[in-house]
Amino acid sequence: MGKVFNWGVFPRIDANQIAFSHYAKIAEFVKENLVIIPRGNGRCYGDSSLQKTIFSTLELNKFLSFDTENGMISCEAGVLLRDILEVIVPKGFFLPVTPGTKFITIGGAVASNIHGKNHHSEGSISRYIESFNLLNETGTIIHCSKNSNPALFTETIGGMGLTGVIISVNLKLKKIETSYIKQKAIKAKNIYEMLEYFDKFCDYTYSVAWIDCLSKGNSLGRSILMLGEHATNKELNEKQSHQPLAVHSNKQINVPFMFPNFVLNELSIKAFNFLYYHKQMQHEVDNVIHYNPYFYPLDAINNWNRIYGANGFTQYQFAIPFENGKEGLVKILTKIANSGCGSFLAVLKTFGENDAVASPLSFPIKGYTLALDFKISKKVFKLLDELDEIVLAYSGRLYLTKDARMNSDTFHKSYTTAFSHPAKFQSLQSMRLKI
């Protein structure tokens, strides 16, 4: 028994967590326990991978095959995206979809049906999963793909680990000429201008906006849009072209302990946001940067979640359809700005067409998605309950992978509940939401 918690450090529970690398032992463990949940690297924010008994996939850490002709990689579920990048980038391949951190497991990526800055153009990871092996409640390993066990294949992608233990995944990769990104950053003075930019630049493969959620009035939602394309050889500068397929460096600055709770407050966040917004002087900046700072800026700081203090934080990520979406975003941003509950990181993206093959629990719906960090406090829970109402009123929903606090009603009003799963696989979240 030990304390187990995910990236938000909330909730923290006592749990028995165990890891095996031999499949027969995993099967035995699954059979002899009544209720378990699989867990990867613990980078979901809330309680999606928490349970009294946890099977950790981190010992399932092996690459199984790499077809450099067709760009297919097969590896066990506990392999981190970081390790995959180290193997594939030198051979001219990239992850087809990546979230804002490379410290997640590929198994977790499938279970959360992760999206990235390219959802509007290239969809979620579900589109690139060729097949996987799933260990079910009887301890049997089942091969799932579009053609073999298609129902289980669909339900597991974005199925939050509730269908069984993903053992290994076979993924289609993206071909790249260089490991650099041609970036364009544009400042928008408020949310209205930003949404226009999203429309105007929708042809870019990657797009994401950082939003200052403490600014009000005419500056409500002032932001910086960051667009990106994979750079070609010709677009690299001389230094970069020496190593066009350079892999990320693993150097990190560490946050050595939990910051005291007073460190992040309205004033310090305001100061940070002011500096971040004004750091970029020009209206528009174009440059070519490595994929690591482009996709994973926060990975450079080890344990950055500790700046929120020992009480932890929660990430609130919702998606709302484009229809009336602008109105909904403005309402939500106004509410946050007036609440004084600063969000240090606020990130706006757009989602494209709904994913064809994904579980009913999968998050992306065509529209806007906004992700916000909040330090845990009583006041914040009240604010988030109020935000839930607005999200529901605009036919939106919350991302289960980030959630630690929504109530069951909100969930059932926003997700179709045509989802059944073996009673053996349950997380604290699935019990809370009555999934």
Partner: protein
């Protein structure tokens, strides 16, 4: 291209060394008793991660009569051989059950004398190669609590010392690795060992890599163990026999 043969590649130290040497560009021959799915996956993993050639072969330390044909069957002969197989056994059981005692001795001592002897002769004739073998602090003085295992490792340490002296003239290097406590599957069954004197499998692998590169003779993975064993070796017998070590 250099090739490393790991005898006992399914152990934690064996796996850590496979990663360490593959990272340096070594091709690998993984030899273990059970050539199961896990070994096949491990071989694939190492080859994909480090772009090296990895094969998995079956090897049983106890089946000494098969050792000659095992070594002859290797398509590529290794430049470096690492022996990390071993068997802690059950000391209490070994006191009353000779089969258990014999298994401990056969695994740790006889198995190594047999296979390393064959490899040593080949390397001696080629006048090149390195043999690295993991022995134990338990072999430095017979203690009440594990002298069967200890004596098997004492035999091994003496064997390696003699082998090193014999092969020095033939440009073949022999390194003895003394890890002290290791945080591996073996120790998990015992009460937890004190952290400052317990090495991780990765630390052992680093020490083994260094022993290979710098041609070290006897390596204590954590230097503190050299001191601890110096003290233990020098306790007078009339006092030592009253201790509970």
């Amino acid at each position: 291209m250099s090739t490393l043969l790991i005898l006992g590649s399914s152990s934690d130290v064996g796996i850590a060394c496979a990663h360490r040497f593959a990272k340096e560009g070594f091709d690998l021959i993984l030899a273990t008793r059970n050539g199961d799915e896990y070994q096949r996956n491990l071989a694939a993993d190492l080859s994909i991660r480090y772009n090296v050639h990895v094969v998995s072969v079956q090897f049983d330390a106890l089946a000494t009569s098969s050792h000659k044909s095992f070594y002859e069957s290797l398509g590529v002969k290794p430049n470096v051989v690492l022996s990390v197989f071993g068997y802690l056994g059950n000391h209490e059981q070994a006191l009353s059950d000779f089969t258990q005692a014999n298994l401990i001795i056969a695994s740790n001592f006889v198995g190594n004398v047999s296979i390393l002897g064959i490899i040593a002769n080949d390397m001696e004739s080629k006048r090149e190669g390195t043999i690295i073998c993991v022995s134990s602090v338990a072999g430095e003085r017979g203690r009440k609590s594990n002298y069967i295992y200890g004596s098997s490792k004492a035999g091994l340490t003496a064997f390696l010392s003699g082998l090193r002296a014999r092969l020095a003239a033939s440009n073949v290097h022999v390194a003895t690795i003394i890890p002290g406590f290791i945080k591996t599957k073996m120790v998990e069954l015992l009460p937890e060992t004190p952290k400052p004197i317990t090495a991780s499998a990765a630390q052992v692998a680093d020490a083994i890599w260094l022993a290979n590169k710098a041609k070290k003779d006897v390596v204590y993975v954590l230097p503190i163990w050299r001191l601890i064993m110096f003290i233990i070796r020098n306790i007078p017998e009339r006092i030592f026999k009253k201790t509970n070590l």
